[in-house]
């Protein structure tokens, strides 16, 4: 089986989000970049499927700035066999469609049996590249998978919806996105890390995959500005009469938290 795992490099979840002096972009100094946590589930699942089906290969594919290659090395250390890196340069915008289309062009020629990505990237929280990619590859797509088994020609899977689980069957080849709980990603050993240094990462530039015209057509969004929401208020403290406190909690839950 040939499995493609999509990888994105994002700032670590604990990063303090700050804007640059002109307020137009995110302050990147001092940020620690990591593999998108949801992509770790995807890579792990791909490697596990490979381990169960001898003769399979896992290809880690990702697009981004130079430092993105470290993320691909991590995927290789986890067990991917080779990587494909698409340089994020000379692009007419950061539209997810551009990413999806470029990835699709790079992946098409591989004719993979399965493409797995993470449910969303924790920087933009969009979750759009997966389904968009499936359109360009003309493959079925299922989001938020929590359990996966491969049988000949199809996938048996569970995917999580709000408060319930959908049990599904999808014909292969297919694209799925991984949700937390799918597996426990392995921590690569030093030996794995050293072996990963010797594995190949093919480097591609966008112009090798698509013409400028086609790229321009895909750019449909414009970012107008970033802002930070007001800092979380220091919590209120309640003391005293239990009944009174209950009323205040209820108000807080219904009006501020907006629970259903």
């Amino acid at each position: 089986m040939k499995i493609v795992a999509l990888v994105k490099q994002v700032p670590d979840t604990e990063t303090k989000i700050k804007l640059t002096a002109d307020g137009k972009a995110l302050e990147t100094a001092g940020i620690k970049y990591v593999v998108n946590p949801y992509d770790e589930f995807a890579i792990e699942e791909a490697v596990r499927i490979k381990e169960k089906n001898s003769g399979s290969t896992v290809i880690a594919v990702g697009m981004g700035p130079e430092r993105m290659k470290e993320a691909l090395r991590t995927a290789l250390a986890m067990g991917a066999d080779e990587g494909i890196y698409i340089a994020e340069e000379n692009l007419p915008g950061k539209d997810g469609l551009i990413t999806a289309r470029l990835l699709a062009e790079a992946i098409k020629s591989l004719s993979p049996d399965l493409v797995i990505c993470g449910k969303q990237a924790i920087d933009d929280d969009e979750g759009r590249v997966g389904p968009a990619l499936s359109h360009y590859l003309e493959l079925p797509f299922v989001a938020n998978v929590t359990k996966l088994t491969v049988e000949s020609g199809k996938l048996n899977l569970h995917r999580e919806l709000e408060g319930r689980t959908e049990v599904m069957e999808v014909a292969l080849p297919a694209v799925v996105s991984a949700q937390k709980g799918l597996n426990e990603p392995r921590y690569p050993s030093l030996i794995n890390i050293m072996q990963a240094k010797k594995k190949t990462i093919n480097e591609l530039k966008p112009e090798q995959l698509l013409s400028n015209d086609e790229l321009n057509k895909l750019s449909t969004l414009e970012e107008t500005g970033l802002n930070l929401p007001p800092a979380r208020e220091k919590g209120r403290k309640l003391q005293g009469d239990p009944e009174q406190m209950v009323k205040e909690i209820v108000t807080f839950l219904t009006e501020t938290v907006k629970i259903s």
Binding site: E14, E184, Y187, S189, L190
Partner: protein
Amino acid sequence: MHPLQIKLLGIPGWAIFLFLWALALFLFIRKVAEILKEISQGEKEVRWDNLGERICGVVVYVLGQKRLFKEPLAGTLHCIFFWGFIFLNLGVVFDFMEGLFPGIGVVKNTIFFSYWISLIDIVCLLVGVGVIISLIRRYIIRIPRLERNWEAFIILTLIFLIVATDICINGARIVLGEMPRPAFAPGAMIAAVLMDSPLFPKDLLQPALVGFWWLHLTVILCFLVYLPYSKHSHIFMAAFDIFFKKQTPLGQMTCIDIEKAEKFGALGLKDLSWKDLFDLYSCSFCGRCQDKCPAFNTDKPLSPKKIIDSLKKHLKAHKGTNVIEESISSDEIWSCTSCSACMETCPTFIEQMTKIQALKRGQVLMEGKNPPEASQMFKNLENNSNPWGIGSSTRGDWAKDLNLKNALAGEPFEYLYWVGCSGSFDKRNQKVVKAVVKLLQAAGVDFAILGESEGCCGDAARRTGNEYLFQMLAQTNIEIFKTAGVKKIICSCPHGFNTFKNEYPQLGGEYEVIHISELLVDLIKAGNLTFQPSGDQKITYHDSCFLGRYNEIYRSPREIIRLATQKAPLEMKRHHSDGFCCGGGGGRMWLEENLGTRINEARTKEAMASGAEIFAVACPLCLTMFEDGLKSLSAEEKYRVMDVVEILAEKVETPQASPAKEPENA
């Protein structure tokens, strides 16, 4: 007639004698050669440096039997066996020579010989009594650490036979007139009396002498051959093991050259060093290490003695396969808290903890197999430089209102105060760190902190086997120290203290590292720190493994308590080098404890039993472990846990902003 002068089936005694000796020596040497060959499979390691220190070690610990006297009775018994063995061997040599060169026999008429025989006799009696007491301890009282197996029984029996036959030989010789009565040899005399009595047929005397003599020889040769085939290889290996002992501090793990090494840690026996394998044959399985092990004492599968036994069995079965899961379970190695009580107590200086750490390294670095919580901790260290994964940008927040000097701001400073991960992020430990700051400021110490730029010292990573991560973290810190111009470091956390002092030099970071307790005692003695001693509560002090056993700092924390409260602290049942681990070391603070009972609860109960109301500690991990222990025992209302620094800080007035002090800090 000398027993050697008999003839058996026409063969002269001396020929049989020589034949038996040759056979015994051949079997002995062959087996010893086999053992040495197995040991040589191990990795190279230099253990013959610092010759002077090594020879001193042999004098103190082999001849002086120092560590054995931690248990007075056992120590006395062992001393008797050890020195007895040496003297008796000299006696055997004399007999051997006399048999071949009977002329030596004239010595027998000298006074020297009379005293010599008396000495031998008393030694034999002591050894004989010693064997009886040993048998009682092992088989009747059934002391837990002493195994009741055939090897022990055989050896004790053989020893008894050796000394019993020796006494009988001398008794017979006295009766036969071949030897003058010795000055003071009660054993031989009683034997002589018994053999001189009417009940003993006179014509049996000569055959008896011959019989005892050959029996004595046979038993000695059996003993000789048996040694390398049993755990009693200890007898000829231990002295060398002590010569080759670890000279580096207990708190210093070996450094792996990541770039050049071909293997990282140990998977199979060949990956351990030859000294590690030498240890396996030097162990007498006395069980003292097991007695002290906090994991074993809380029903975990780990026992340092069993580790040695399992490794030895693995080696004997000539298995080239991996040790873990085949001979030792992963539960065993992961239960280890790196407290080093096993190594500190072992009379032969066997390195149990070193082997466990090598196996942990093998699992993490080569197999990628570690407890899942450890993986999370490693990721946290990689991404945010602390084991909890709390945003590294918030590391300096605890000090934001304190206006402390920042070591990277360009201002000169004398000391770097290393706050550590617990001190920076854990609310409870932030109080301790603030107390340290209060005391340093009150004493006018010129110090700076790194704040947000501080990153984990790496101890948790190293003790959990992740040498690669440790070196990455350490290199980062060494670079920062270089940029900031750090020369002296004050630590309030023993884990940071230990690694900066004993391990960072391996990677090129050399600094003067001081534990806060020692600095405070010096400051008080120099009159730089004034406080109002007081206190009527009972306090007991818990020795942190990384401060106590690892670095032998026992006095200063106690001294601080004594100075602050005018009373020395109470001691728990197990204290100083005998202190019982709190359970937080070895990275265990961040791992689940699912097997057996909780180590921290056991130690908390011990503290409660001391009669103290306040438990004093000098380590943030110990502090957390004790407070958790009190919570799970539902006893947090009655007892308090405090760092010694907090106990002292309470007695110091909060300093007002003093203009006189500012020029020093500017």
